[in-house]
Assembly symmetry: C3
Homo-oligomer: 259 residues x 3
């Protein structure tokens, strides 16, 4: 009995999440089920890959992540289970698992070909209920990872936009905007670890620079800043405000850090 955590594009208005959980509990009634999000836009593999990257390490060892953003369902894409670090990741081979698995470390990849662990009959449109969920449930219930299918040497990688260092300037992009309007960038704290923290400045578009702060409250209410967010990435935020809205930032917008 393990924790099984979900990221999908199913939404929560339809019955899909419930059906997947019902199928899982029929196999392992003692699994602990946790929703990370079901609000990924339909087929948006890169957002799901990022949501997994930002959250997986907050879960305890042994957690099984089921990530179903699967525009190729029923086609010839592979279905995978990956052991990486102390975690298991299950989902389609379209890159959705790749950012987290690379960070978790030393991914061992299995192709889900042992149909013994599928729900029967397997529909052509709902592998969350029929393949990914049941395989996770069997793993949670004690089936050995090795039994899920043959080992594979590689998997589809989702390419995160690169962070570039040009002279005294780190160049990255907005990768994710949260509910509060905080704009998480591709730039990590580790990227500028050797910069002088007192002199760090963040610049977006042609607008004037913001300081990099350690607390929202370091600037006045309504003022912008850079801040290292809870997953270790630089974020553009406004104290008690909505940075994305007020600064008109969208996903992909360029962000620069100067020392």
């Amino acid at each position: 009995m393990s924790i099984i955590a979900f990221i999908t594009d199913f939404g929560t208005n339809d019955h899909f999440v419930g059906s997947m959980k019902g199928a899982i509990l029929g196999i392992d009634p003692n699994a602990t089920l946790v929703d990370i999000t079901h609000a990924i836009a339909p087929g948006d593999v890169s957002s799901a890959a990022l949501a997994l990257l930002l959250s997986f390490s907050d879960f305890p060892k042994g957690t099984i992540f089921v990530v179903v953003v699967d525009p190729g369902v029923g086609g010839d894409r592979n279905a995978l289970a990956i052991k990486a670090g102390p975690y298991f990741f299950i989902g389609p081979d379209n890159g959705v698992l790749s950012l987290a698995c690379k960070k978790a470390g030393k991914p061992i990849i299995r192709s889900l070909e042992n149909t013994r662990y599928f729900r029967k009959p397997v529909s052509m449109t709902f592998h969350g209920r029929d393949i990914f969920g049941p395989v996770a449930a069997h793993l949670s219930h004690g089936v050995a990872f090795e039994k899920l299918g043959p080992e594979k040497p590689s998997f589809v990688l989702y390419q995160n936009p690169q962070v570039i260092l040009k002279g005294n300037c780190l160049q990255g992009n907005v990768a994710f905007i949260d509910r509060f309007g905080n704009c998480l960038t591709t730039i990590k704290a580790t990227h500028f670890a050797d910069f002088n923290p007192q002199q760090l400045r963040v610049k977006i578009k042609a607008q004037k620079a913001f300081p990099v702060c350690s607390c929202y409250c370091d600037v006045a209410k309504g003022k912008a800043m850079g801040i290292i967010g809870s997953a270790g990435f630089l974020e553009i935020s406004i104290n008690q405000g909505n940075a994305a809205k007020d600064l008109k930032l969208k996903i992909g917008a360029p962000v620069e850090v100067y020392k």
Copy 2:
């Protein structure tokens, strides 16, 4: 200790779902609680009946379904517990349980009249917390189904639109549109089991016919098809697209299958 699965029109913005679950866990702290959906439009009995029909059989035997879409709360409608197939269904007697109970088979109906299993005092506006949830919790905690109240011979039936066979044409309707824009119809795979699968065609409005496929990927990206969905009903879908939007289909739209 059982699985208790929920379909309501409570939404998830207000505290109602939490209050109902709190009341349940006070009676059976070991029940496993699963949300199917709380996003049924207020008072939309037919959508809730359909959501239950589409999902109940994905859950393990013994699951207790609590369905609270109850525009007549506090009035003289009956409250029911129904045993059908290996499942229990609890909710108001307004048809919301009827499609699933008919499919699950041999419904045995009890009227919830034993107030011993209610939360006290019973409010006039929130029977999910005060009657349906607590009764489910007592059932989960080991109370015999027979103790919930006297047996009733019948319950209110929600009439699903009929599928009609005219010559070589099956006539049905769109019954449900999911998050991806897939249009689930009233026509089941079993309705055309004796049709030649190579010659099956789906027709909507006066538009040209689509093939019935076994995988989204059987047609090019952006092309429409009929496909048997995960609950056994014919759906109108577009490969990696939104059929409801692109084909301007709404609930109730006529759909025909030709052999």
Copy 3:
């Protein structure tokens, strides 16, 4: 192992709720996690305080409520754990816990200063994952309340708008509007317990008076009424309709009860 129930402004689109739950389950894998709501508007302390007030007493004794609506995160506001009645409440000291703790009775307040029960490192932006959640998990796992930090004599109070009695008229306000359009007011049933129930009338704006009913069905479909809702407050409702929309009521709108 306890029930841990959540009220936050995190929303459910981002990974924040999942991350907080992951951190909790790493400390107490047997905690039962219940979402009350995550849809509080960002930083809306008063709505969160009210949602907690309306729901906490529906939960069993020993439940731990984690309430994270925390616009001052990372600043110098205190973090609290409060024992009140048979419950525990954890959150920032900004008033969000105060309405429920006053009603639960005899609050004993501890300042969360024992960093032993925090997740390390503590981020500056996500104390739900790093402080409030982990402290709740340790409490659930058996750590004594007294160990969480030193006792404090008082906490920030959120001032609920007062109900005023003028002659034969109780004056209050709309405090909360639910998904169905029911308008919960600040006036409690106990406020007019000595009024003659046959003669009670509710008045909003200059509009004509409504009766106070005991069931939605006491008036015709589409007609307005006052009714005592499930948490003991007077609500303005329309039988099978949306009172907020049809009567153009907003939060703060004045409501009067006449005897």
